[in-house]
Amino acid sequence: MTVATADTPAGHEGHHEHVHYTSTGLENRKIAIWALIGSECMLFASLISTYLIYKGRSKVGPFPHEWSCKTSNVVGKTAELVAGCAPADVLKPILDIPVTSQSTFVLLMSSLAMVLALAAVENKGHPLPAGAGWWDRCLASSKFWLMATAVMGVAFIGYQSYEFTSFVHEGLTIKTNLFGSSFFTLTGFHGAHVTVGVLWLMSLLWIDRTRGLGPKDELVVDICALYWHFVDVVWIVIFTLVYLIS
């Protein structure tokens, strides 16, 4: 695949977008985003390793999966083990699996919306097949899917804010113990990545609304999609290693 030559006036809206020759025929920005994703692998590997290294080393509760008692050193897998503890001093396992399962599902679905947004942008301008139903029309709307992705991203951040505030109410802050420090930092870093992704999606949505995204913008949407899916796969790993495995 060779990109068009320098004298193709591919510009729009007065932009002088000369398409340059490249050695591989690939787009510069796409190579850069994959290199960035590679670098991010190392970033999250360091964070996740630290979380796992510090797991079980906290001196005081609350703990992720264990019951404990503020006034004694009892830590255990079941509520019975802290039966001797005054009810006010009992610290429950803090991770809220039902809520986090919902947020995980939301983020997974946002990835679906993202690929559909990309497909809609790529197919823009193709007439709908005869007898197209509401679903075909829906599939063709890049604005709808971009918006859906961003909304689910915001929902995920909403879940995370809810999770963080309820942890703080239950007595776990970033200062409480090693678990608190490493948990909030790891999931906070992921949340920050989601936030950047949402801003990126909003910017795309804004471009789509002002001048419309079409097949020529495939790359612009694609690199955002790659970033977004990467943030999603990081969460897939975090959900299993942090939330489910005890």
């Binding site: 796969v233 299993t240 290693l241 495995i245």
Partner: protein, 104 residues
């Protein structure tokens, strides 16, 4: 490059409905993971952790292969990503060995 040529290279991309099927598979795996978490007998099993990690790796692979369309894209991207991922996983694993998370 004409639009026809462009679409010729992209015929391998999954369609909207295939994306939907992939999403259903991902949801089912997630549901199995969460379901297993609530069955004490399963959690107690020595296979629980490996099974969860395999399911998680499967989801990871599906998203990377199909949603990030690395399966259909230029091999350079595959190389950039897998090399970095393998290095990151090796480093992380080595760190966990060094800190005694796993024992030899």
């Amino acid at each position: 490059m004409s639009d026809d040529a462009k679409h010729a290279t992209e015929t391998h991309h999954p369609t909207g409905n295939q994306y939907l099927k992939i999403a259903i598979i991902l949801t089912v795996i997630t549901a199995i993971e969460v379901w297993a978490y609530y069955i004490p007998a399963l959690v107690a099993s020595p296979l629980f952790n490996p099974a969860l990690i395999i399911m998680s790796a499967l989801k990871f692979a599906i998203v990377v292969l199909y949603y990030m369309h690395i399966k259909f894209d230029h091999s350079l991207f595959r190389l950039l990503f897998t090399a970095s991922l393998i290095l990151a996983m090796c480093t992380g694993t080595a760190l966990m060995f060094l800190f005694g998370v796993f024992k030899l």
